[in-house]
Symmetry: C2
Subunit: 99 residues, 2 copies
């Protein structure tokens, strides 16, 4: 898995499976147009899309979520120079929370 946006990721997979936007969008219960925009990165994906996407594209939910998160972090925080440290800290807090 390479450094690819969430939109590219799901579009590529949708094309592999030869599904039209129409079908996928219907399964996500959104408009074709909205999905088109998400695939092209013109709009962000909603977390609500992740499970249905994993289902219809037959992808591991873990991979879908992971790609979604990585992409969004990049877009949201890309401009901050200390992002690496921020990520480390977030991880540390997650571990701490588990207990």
């Amino acid at each position: 898995m390479s450094n690819v946006t969430f939109g590219d990721y799901i579009r590529k997979r949708r094309e592999e499976k030869e599904l039209p936007l129409r079908k996928v969008a219907a399964h996500l219960d959104i408009d074709t147009s909205t999905l088109s925009k998400v695939e092209r990165g013109e709009r962000p994906a909603s977390p609500d899309y992740l499970k249905p996407l994993a289902e219809i594209l037959e992808l591991d939910l873990k991979e879908v979520q992971t790609t979604f998160i990585a992409d969004k972090i990049n877009k949201d925080f890309g401009g901050l120079e200390h992002l690496p440290e921020g990520l480390k800290e977030a991880e540390k807090q997650l571990k701490r929370r588990k207990k």
Copy 2:
């Protein structure tokens, strides 16, 4: 540094330095009320606040940013079960991008 929200973090420091909201808010060029809300987590902090905050509170910008990022990731993605993997992936991509 413990598992503390961004708001708590800056409030604690502001009180340490015995600065009123009025002064800090003025330096950030925002309303007192807005800063009060940010400190109490009623509103999110804008990235624009980070540098001025570091200045007036005499904190390391790196620490301020780190706390900000960790807190926001937590709030934004806290509901996703595969957040740890997402963070790992984001880090991997950052490293890859550096080249």
